[in-house]
């Protein structure tokens, strides 16, 4: 019995198939870009103001924080976990940072404190999920309530006003370099760094391995707990940074900033093609998802859609986005199959 050598021609078929598969993977991001382009083109066609400098700047600024949170969230989701506490963390950090700044703390220490508080929340989540092996959804829903309670407890009806904050911080939130505001630049830098790490580094790939099959990852000697902990640290830390940026951008905070944002962030991640079941997707997709959601929101306002219709349309578009993505993927899979046996 001799094993059959691959007949010529098969290799080509396989290549073609792979190119197609690759395309589908990239297409997740491509289709988002396309959807975005259509949306912007249509909106700008109806109301030219949409693409004015101010309009674009507003959208970028509005996206920045959501995208930042989506990047952190997608790292967690890729490991087949979830972090529902991000919204609460943003709220807590925004208030605490504002509070210490209003009491005269230095800018740099305050920012570091904010990120540290966020990372600490992530650490708690991460320890509970990875070392105590309790389900992520329950834990982070629990910490959502706890952190929110803490935030309200500290704030207790107080308000931080822009006048109490150092001008440097407000400049960070609203200033720009060469016409591009700082906030989206910060998000972009974070996204590229995290994205490159996840894609090109062995330890980064391990996040995908864990999400794809936790059991196999354990058997492969992947330090599962440490990676999951790291994912939560990243998510928490970025939520902390998001809180600081929130403060910088809005200047006024009460005890419930970003209330309810957990679902928004998860939406962005899902629309961005990160599988909720782990192992698939990229932070670029997640950030694009955030951009798409924000742009839809702005476009509806600019198009003078009745405010009562806005939410319904956003929901419908969200469904449309994930459905089209899915239908495309299924089509391609079928093409692959019919394209011939390997």
């Amino acid at each position: 019995m001799t094993a059959t050598a691959a007949p010529p021609g098969r290799e080509v078929g396989a290549r073609g198939a792979r190119a197609l598969v690759d395309l589908v993977f990239r297409a997740r991001e491509l289709s988002l870009v396309a959807a975005l382009a259509v949306l912007v083109a249509v909106t700008a066609g109806i109301n030219g103001n949409f693409l004015s400098g101010q309009g674009v700047e507003d959208i970028l600024l509005n996206t920045a924080i959501l995208a930042l949170l989506a990047v952190g969230q997608s790292v967690v989701v890729i490991t087949r976990n979830i972090d529902l506490s991000v919204g609460s963390v943003v709220g807590l950090v925004a208030f605490v940072t504002g509070d210490v700044l209003a009491r005269g703390a230095g800018l740099v220490p305050a920012v570091l404190l904010g990120v540290a508080v966020g990372a600490a929340c992530g650490l708690v989540n991460g320890l509970l999920v990875s070392f105590c092996r309790v389900p992520a959804l329950v834990v982070t829903l629990g910490t959502l309530y706890v952190i929110q309670g803490l935030d309200h407890y500290i704030a207790h009806g107080r308000q931080i006003n822009a006048v109490d904050l150092p001008p440097a911080l407000l400049a960070l939130g609203n200033g720009a370099v060469l016409g591009v505001p700082y906030l989206p630049l910060i998000t972009l830098a974070v996204m590229l760094a995290v994205g490159a790490y996840l894609r090109a580094y062995p330890s980064g790939r391990e996040f995908y391995a864990i999400g794809s099959s936790p059991e196999a990852a354990r058997l492969a000697g992947v330090p599962v707990r440490r990676r999951v902990l790291a994912a939560y640290l990243v998510s928490g830390g970025l939520a902390g940074l998001g809180g600081v940026l929130w403060l910088a951008r809005f200047g006024t905070v009460v005890g419930d900033s970003a209330n309810g944002w957990e679902l928004l962030v998860v939406s962005a991640v899902v629309v961005g093609g990160v599988a909720i079941t782990g192992g698939v997707g990229s932070v670029y997709g997640a950030a694009l998802g955030a951009l798409l959601l924000t742009t839809i929101g702005s476009a509806l306002v600019v198009l003078r859609v009745n405010p009562f219709w806005q939410q319904a349309i956003t929901g419908a578009l969200l469904l449309l986005a994930i459905s089209v993505d899915r239908v495309l993927a299924v089509r391609v899979a079928r093409l692959l199959r019919k394209g011939g046996r390997r």
Binding site: P7, Y201, E206
Partner: protein
């Protein structure tokens, strides 16, 4: 050969609750030697493997590396020590590419410590070359057949350049060609001084590949000896503790009407124009190389996948495409190839798994009768000699072979008129295998039509009244029992299209 064994277990015991999986077991793996581990289902082979791999920690006893005691706190430690393991059940990352699965944790690097993807793919391609496999390193492993998954596992283990290679039933899902290729690769590794531990229920393979064999029975060490002096029967006696009758007891049964008729069945890109029929009392084997599309045909017949053209008729009734419920209603049963995903609900108890195909028949009034469920499970467990502690235990804790028995029980309990079995003895020990064969033969005798997919050629030749051979998605030959030989079947399976 050095004085110390490369890796050894000394007096190791391991219990899971009340189950004593290993009792004071010792084994020595020497460099340059292929060591077989034999035993019935549930004898403790996989547990021993997992102990060597650092997955389980022994309750008692020691692991010795080059004669020095070591403690493996996790799989990473064992890998560090140069132990590569192929587990009984594939452990792949379905969303990652084949190449990435192979090199996970040891990716080739380029500047700035980044992964070198081109090198990664090249490495995978080179490994597949050695194994004579044609798999695309760039595709995700999701959707690979069990056999291809097993091949990826093998490539993964080989890529580690390990000092100790442990293989838990690597050939269970493979057909002869791939297995032969694997053996030549292992042979080469062994000659380079690698210590090999090999587990298989196909005793021929043990005799072909290994120098030494250790036998386990009920978690206990029975013997470690040279293979050279042993006969087939000796080994079986060590494993089972008694002599066994004939392995393939297919009796001729009265062949009745056509029970299953498949006409011009086509699923684009998977199989084309498949036509055949199976009569009552007949066992028809579907043979072919891995990837020939046999499982796909079975899945389509049972309604798991839709077909694009053709018809399937059971007892004269045409089946709608894509409805397992309708297929079951017509008297079809399918014992699927992947028992973990398709055959069993791992978290459920033995009795509930067996009851799952009979949710209607177990009904008393509106609710399920637990007594009826338990009786049904107990009955079949006894008939298949299932080894278990309590019927209420999860199937997940059963050994691989015993899990397979539960799948069989679950489908036989539906009293089908047409039984399709996909690799029914995959991972089943010789004793049970004989039982399964007897059972299939008995069922055929009772007038059931059996369609058997198997990569185990002796099994095909021993059991089948007729052999259908598939090649690249088409039926390439139909060979009656009298003419079926290894050569004729393999020829039909591999012959190139002109």
């Amino acid at each position: 050969m050095s004085a110390h064994p490369t890796l050894a277990l000394a007096g190791v015991s391991k219990s899971f609750g009340a189950v004593r999986a290993l009792r004071d077991v010792s084994i020595e793996l020497h460099a340059g030697e292929a060591h077989a581990l034999a035993g019935e289902n549930g004898a403790g082979k996989s547990t021993l493997v997992k102990t060597l791999a650092g997955v389980h920690r022994p309750d008692q006893g020691r692991i010795l590396l080059d004669g020095e005691p070591v403690v493996f706190t996790g799989p990473a430690d064992a890998q560090q020590a140069g132990v590569a393991v192929i587990y009984q059940e594939p452990t792949l990352f379905p969303d990652l590419s084949v190449a990435e699965n192979i090199v996970m944790g040891r990716q080739p690097r380029r500047s700035l410590g980044r992964i070198d993807r081109a090198a990664m793919r090249a490495a995978a391609r080179e490994l597949f070359g050695r194994l004579g496999v044609d798999l695309d390193p760039g595709r995700p492993t999701r959707g690979l057949s069990i056999a291809d998954q097993q091949l990826v596992e093998i490539a993964k283990a080989l890529s580690r350049d390990a000092r100790v290679l442990v293989m838990d039933e690597p050939t269970a899902a493979l057909s002869g060609a791939e297995a032969a290729r694997l053996f030549s690769v292992v042979e080469a590794l062994r000659e380079h001084g690698c210590a090999v531990l090999f587990i298989s229920h196909r005793l021929d393979e043990i005799f072909a590949l290994c120098q030494r064999v250790t036998t386990l029975r009920d978690g206990q060490w029975i013997a470690s000896e040279l293979v050279a002096g042993l006969t087939h029967d000796d080994l079986v006696r060590r494993m089972v503790g008694r002599d066994l009758g004939a392995l393939y007891p297919k009796q001729d049964a009265a062949v009745g009407d056509v029970a299953l008729k498949v006409e011009r069945l086509t699923r684009e890109g998977v199989f084309t124009d498949v036509s055949f029929e199976v009569r009552r009392g007949e066992i028809v084997a579907l043979a072919g190389l891995v990837g020939a599309g046999r499982s796909e045909v079975a899945r389509a017949i049972f309604g798991i996948d839709r077909w694009d053209a053709g018809t399937v008729t059971v007892d004269g009734r045409e089946l709608p495409p894509g409805s397992p419920t309708a297929a079951m209603g017509a008297g079809l049963a399918l014992v699927p190839e992947d028992r973990r995903q398709q055959g069993l609900v791992m978290e459920m108890s033995i009795e509930r798994n067996i009851g799952l195909t009979g949710l209607r028949s177990l009904r008393r009034g509106a609710t399920i009768s637990r007594r009826a469920e338990r009786d049904r499970a107990a009955d079949w467990a006894a008939r298949l000699r299932l080894k278990f502690a309590r019927l209420g235990d999860g199937v997940g804790v059963l050994s691989g072979g015993n899990q397979q028995k539960v799948v069989l029980a679950k489908w036989l309990a539906t009293e089908p008129s047409v039984l399709i079995v996909d690799e029914p003895t995959r991972g089943i020990d010789v004793g049970t295998k004989a039982e399964v064969h007897r059972l299939l033969s008995e069922l055929a005798g009772q007038g059931i039509a059996v369609l058997m997919i198997s990569s185990d050629l002796p099994e095909v030749l021993g059991m089948a009244d007729r052999v259908l051979v598939m090649r690249e998605g088409r039926l390439s030959a139909e060979i009656p029992r009298a003419e079926a030989t290894e050569e004729s079947v393999m020829n039909a399976a591999t012959r190139r299209a002109a």
